[in-house]
């Protein structure tokens, strides 16, 4: 039985497989060539997710619309109080109609204009916080991970700051300083960069002693070049993710601070202010639109940033490019 199998196998082998092949220059080139480009592949992987593309389109249109909205015709001022022509009173709680698309609030301001103005404020806070968190986090994280003399000092500072609850820091800072957009950004940055720094530090510790870095160091590459050319490109995806997620988080913190009464002054419309105003009148069913419209706008923005950030981080990870 065994014999017959071996016979069959040896029958199947072609002699041509054992001849010497000629070396072909052009064929050798073909296998070595790759048209791989990092950003090209990132975009391609990103586009594979239909939901992400949908949210990207939604977010782009929201961003464009919030920027150009004040310059469009027939837009109302977000802070002007409208007066009812018949009674000469403030046009309070006017339900949505053709004149006031989203109605007016309890002192007669146009809710449509206020929502877009609030979106601008909240997005501004979100972008600033994300930007500063990334900058501080990367610098501190890179030093923390790469410069060994600083390690124990920064670790102790981190432990102390990390152990004071975020809520406490936010409340104390906004309480000690005057309420304004910059106060809020500062308070959020004070707590936000910690996570980023720790993450960057852990990643850098993992890759700092890999062979290619060792080789670089032996060849005398300056530290700044090692950090910027060898280490940080590895972190692009996570840094982008953190920045994208910092925006919904900042908007959430703004809502929270406004909720507990330490938010922006009422004269500056923000999504937190609007939700809070809506909460004030939500027990009257006919006035619930004042809560629902800002809540929808806010959820759309935070969800789009969250989804796009996550999908982009996956797409920017070279391991997913195969």
């Amino acid at each position: 039985m065994g014999n017959s199998k071996i016979n069959k196998l040896s029958d199947g082998i072609e002699d041509s497989l054992f001849e010497f092949a000629d070396f072909d220059d052009s064929k050798a080139e073909l296998t070595g060539y790759s048209n791989y480009s990092y950003w090209h592949s990132t975009v391609r992987v990103f586009m594979q997710s239909k939901i992400a593309v949908l949210f990207l389109i939604l977010m782009m249109s929201l961003l464009i619309f919030t920027t150009i909205q004040p310059y469009l015709p027939k837009q109302k001022s977000p802070t002007k109080i409208y007066i009812d022509g018949n009674t000469n009173m403030q046009l309070r709680n006017h339900p949505p109609d053709f004149e006031f698309w989203f109605g007016t609030n309890s002192i007669g301001q146009d809710l449509w204009a206020r929502i877009w103005s609030g979106t601008r404020t909240s997005l501004l806070i979100g972008f600033l916080v994300g930007f500063w968190e990334a900058i501080i986090g990367i610098i501190v994280g890179a030093l923390w991970g790469y410069v060994r003399q600083l390690e124990s000092i920064i670790t102790e500072i981190y432990n102390v700051l990390d152990n004071i609850p975020t809520t406490v820091v936010l409340i104390l800072l906004t309480y000690i300083m005057k309420p304004s957009v910059s106060t809020m950004v500062f308070a959020m940055c004070m707590t936000g960069w910690l996570g980023m720094a720790r993450f960057v530090r852990n990643q850098i510790i993992i890759i700092r002693d890999r062979e290619y870095n060792l080789a670089s160091r032996c060849l005398g590459t300056p530290i700044s070049r090692i950090i910027f050319k060898n280490l940080l490109p590895y972190l692009v995806s996570v840094i982008m993710l953190r920045m994208a997620l910092a925006i919904p988080a900042a908007i959430g913190s703004e809502v929270f601070l406004t909720y507990i009464g330490l938010g922006l002054p009422k004269s500056i419309p923000s999504l937190g202010n609007l939700v809070n105003e809506g909460r004030g009148v939500m027990m009257v069913p006919s006035l619930r639109y004042q809560l629902i419209f800002p809540a929808i706008a806010l959820s759309l923005i935070t969800i789009s940033f969250y989804v796009i950030g996550n999908v982009f981080a996956d797409a920017a990870d070279p391991r997913n490019h195969v």
Partner: protein, 314 residues
């Protein structure tokens, strides 16, 4: 192990000491009105100074700090000045903490049970309907600020099921919504964690071996994968258990539960400095103790982890 525990305990105490000192110094930056009850305006400068001196607030900082720690070691948290005048802080906390712990514990148990089962069923139906539905839920809960969906739950769910809109100690059904809303976030994070871990883990060799041995899917999941997935979660369990003391600001104010949630904000807004100081102290110690207990629990659950070696990695 014992040596390491003692060393960690000592380190935690040092960190706690630094945090408390920083908070104490921060509190000195707060406005001085916080040390007077009503009638701050009626006092002239000399009287104010006299009161502040009698409270020891004009002493050099080092002596103030020494007194603060001395009374703290005796278990004295100070006396509230404005929130509830002349009542010891410990007394105020005693009435409030039980509410927060009860609600927090109930929410934590529900979110652990539901979150883990949701995570498991998501991992088992990867990229099919349940997984997508669950992912949608997780994205929504993580992205939308809690205040927004809490408000809508309170508004519409009370209508639909005809529940009380506010908490009432005598009506058990008024527990349902606060606890349910509080567990939403926990469910999402536990489910996300379990799912991610299980999907990674299912491709590993020991799972393949267990399958090849002919173990049932269910027992692989529960006995092998879940036990491994639970270890990293164990680090956060003591913290979240301890943090139930602090209550939920949103939920407790929305349903008017007399718990700890809004106390800090209230105390800050009314500038009741001793109360603020005591609360910040409690919350910071919770964080540090929770981290310590979490590490210990993790080592106990998983004998492969030795903290001594990767101390710097944390």
């Amino acid at each position: 192990m014992l040596k390491y525990t003692l060393k960690r305990l000592f380190q935690s105490l040092v960190t706690l000491f630094i945090v408390l000192t920083v908070v104490f110094l921060l509190m000195r930056l707060m406005p001085e009105e916080g040390y007077f009850g009503e009638g701050y305006e009626k006092l002239d400068v000399a009287q104010r100074e006299a009161i502040l001196t009698s409270m020891g607030l004009r002493d050099p900082l080092a002596i103030q700090l020494k007194n603060f720690y001395a009374s703290l070691l005796k278990g004295d948290l100070g006396t509230s000045i404005i929130y509830r005048p002349k009542v010891p802080v410990a007394e105020i906390l005693k009435t409030k903490i039980p509410y927060s712990i009860r609600f927090g514990l109930a929410a934590m148990i529900i979110s652990l049970v539901l979150g883990i089962s949701l995570g498991i069923s998501m991992a088992r139906s990867k990229n099919r309907f349940w997984d997508k539905l669950g992912t949608g839920y997780i994205v929504f809960i993580n992205a939308v600020p809690a205040a927004v969906y809490y408000l809508f739950i309170q508004l519409y769910v009370t209508d639909i099921f005809n529940l009380k809109i506010l908490y009432h100690p005598k009506i058990p059904s008024s527990w349902i919504l606060p606890v349910a809303s509080m567990s939403l976030g926990g469910i999402a994070s536990y489910a996300m964690w379990i799912r991610r871990y299980m999907v990674d883990e299912l491709n590993k060799d020991y799972v393949k071996l267990a399958k090849a041995k002919g173990l049932k899917n269910k027992s692989i999941m529960v006995k092998h994968v879940l036990r491994n997935a639970f270890v990293p979660m164990a680090q956060y369990l003591p913290s979240s258990l301890l943090y139930t003391i602090s209550g939920s600001i949103y939920i407790e104010s929305l349903y008017s539960i007399p718990g700890m949630g809004g106390l800090l904000v209230d105390a800050i807004q009314r500038q009741d400095n001793p109360l603020v100081q005591a609360l910040v102290l409690i919350y910071s110690s919770i964080g540090i103790i929770g981290l310590f207990l979490g590490d210990i629990l993790m080592v106990t659950l998983d004998p492969r982890i030795t903290l001594e070696k990767k101390e710097g990695a944390r």
